[in-house]
Symmetry: C2
Subunit: 261 residues, 2 copies
C-alpha cells in the first residue's frame, strides 16, 4: 500500500484533480530533489502587513530516530537550513496543542516545456509539492548534528565524511536547524505530450508548419571549478560520481516524463 | 542611475545585508528567468487555517502600455498564468485604496554548489527574488491578449507567431491572467567561491584531502521530442536557437557567478 497524506480542505484543489497526488514518497522525493525550497509564513498583523513572508532555504526530509523508534517508524519531518528569520520564529502556533510556527513549504521542479499547436494548450511538465507544517528550532544537540549531516548528504552524498567534521562548538552555536512537523501535503504533477484541440488537428496546413512536442529540461551540473585555496590534487570520486549520477537522473527523468500520461 | 525598489520594513533583512539587493532590473530578470513561480497568499481565517496558501504559476514582468503611456513609462507589473484558485481571488485587499489580493511571489535560481573545507561553510550560489504586490484578474480583452503573447514569448521567443493565434473566444474565456501591481521587492544573491575558517586553512593535511570549489549548475534544455501528432518535418530554427541560447546563457551565468565576489 502506498502511504499518503490525508485529503482535507487544506490540501485539495478543485481543478485538474488528476494532477493532484497525496503519495508520501512522491512528495518527499520532490522536497529532497529541489535545491531551494520556499518557506512561507503569515505576516504578524495582516491588517497592517498583508503579505505572507517567504524565505528561500535548503531542506530535506528526515526522520530522527528518537524515543526508541527506528527511522522507518518515525513520522517524516522536514529539516531546514538557512537564515532563520526572527520574524519566522516569533509567530506563536495557532493552538496550544501544536508546537511551532505554521509554515507552507513549496518546491517545484520543471521537467519540460510542452508545445502544442496553439498557445492555449502550451504547458509544462513539472512536479510541484506544497507541504503545510509547524516549524520549530532543533534544540537537541544530537538531533541537530544528525540533521546537519543529513542536509549535507542530501545535497552531495559523501561530502560530510569527505570534509572537516564534526562542526566545532562555535559553528554548532551559530547554525540553526528548523524541524517542520508535517500537518498536510500534496503534489501536482504534469507529464506527457501536448493535448490539442480537435479542430486544430484537422488543419493540415497548421500541423505541417507548427512543430509540436516537448523540450525536456533538467538541472545540469557542470565541471567542478576548484577554489583559489584548493590544494587537493583532483576532484574526489564521490563528487565526480555525484555530478554524473545527477545529470543522468535529471535527463532520464525529464525524458521519462514525456512518455508518462 | 539604477532603478530600485524602496527599502522598507517589508523587504529588508537583518542578516547578510551584502547579499540583499533592490535593483529593479536584477529582480525583474530573476522573475523572467524562473520557469515556475510560487505565489503565496494569506489563509482566509488564520485562526482556523494557519498556513499561507501557495500556488505554482508561470509568470513574467510586463508593462502594458495603457492610458497613453509607453511600455517604458509604465510601472512594471507581473503577469501570471495558471490555475487561479477561487481561494486566491476571494481575499479582499487590505485597504480600499488598493485593488486586488495581497500576494507574495518568490523565485529562486540555483547557480552552483559551493563546497568548503567544512560543512559549516558550504553554501550555494543563487539568485532569489521575493515580490510583494496586489493581484487582480485582467478583464480588459486587449490587455489579456497582449499578456498571453508576452507570457508565451517570455518562455520561448517566436512561439506565438509560430503557432495558431489568436486564441479563439472559448480559449480566451477559459483562460485567466492575473496582474500583480508591485508594492515592494528584494533579491538575495550569493556569488563567489567558498569562504573558509582561518584555522582550517592552516591545516595542510585537511587541505590536501578536501577538494574545495564550486560545482556550477544551470537548467539544461535537451533535444526537442516530437509529439505523436507532430507533422512538422523539422524543429523550427527559433526553437533550436532558443535551446542553444538558453543552454549557453545558463552555463555562462553559472560559471560567471563563481568569479563574482
Amino acid at each position: 500500500m502506498v502511504a499518503t497524506y490525508e485529503k482535507t480542505a487544506l490540501n485539495t484543489g478543485n481543478r485538474l484533480r488528476n494532477r493532484v497526488h497525496y503519495d508520501k514518497d512522491l512528495i518527499h522525493g520532490i522536497i529532497d530533489e529541489t535545491p531551494i525550497l520556499h518557506v512561507a509564513f503569515n505576516p504578524a498583523d495582516p491588517s497592517t502587513e498583508p503579505f505572507p513572508a517567504v524565505l528561500p532555504m535548503l531542506g530535506c526530509i528526515g526522520s530522527f530516530p528518537a524515543g526508541g523508534q527506528t527511522e522507518e517508524e518515525e513520522e517524516a519531518t522536514i529539516y531546514l537550513h538557512g537564515y532563520v528569520s526572527a520574524r519566522l520564529m516569533k509567530y506563536p502556533s495557532s493552538s496550544e496543542d501544536v508546537v511551532g510556527s505554521p509554515v507552507t513549504i513549496s518546491a517545484s521542479i520543471l521537467d519540460g516545456l510542452v508545445l502544442s499547436l496553439t498557445p492555449f494548450h502550451n504547458s509544462c511538465n513539472y512536479r510541484s509539492a506544497v507541504v503545510f507544517g509547524y516549524a520549530s528550532i532543533v534544540t537537541d544537540e544530537t538531533e541537530k548534528l544528525w540533521a546537519l549531516e543529513l542536509l549535507t548528504e542530501n545535497i552531495i552524498k559523501g561530502r560530510w565524511e569527505g570534509s572537516r567534521v564534526p562542526p566545532n562548538k562555535t559553528e554548532m552555536t551559530s547554525t540553526s536547524v528548523l524541524k517542520v512537523r508535517i500537518q498536510s501535503a500534496s503534489a501536482k504533477v504534469r507529464t506527457g505530450g501536448p493535448s490539442e484541440d480537435r479542430k486544430d488537428l484537422k488543419d493540415g496546413e497548421l500541423r505541417e508548419r507548427t512543430w509540436t512536442g516537448v523540450v525536456p529540461a533538467w538541472l545540469h551540473w557542470g565541471t567542478p571549478i576548484p577554489a583559489g585555496e584548493n590544494r587537493a590534487r583532483e576532484v574526489p570520486g564521490y563528487i565526480e560520481d555525484w555530478v554524473r549520477g545527477e545529470n543522468e537522473k535529471g535527463e532520464e527523468g525529464a525524458k521519462r516524463a514525456v512518455e508518462k500520461e
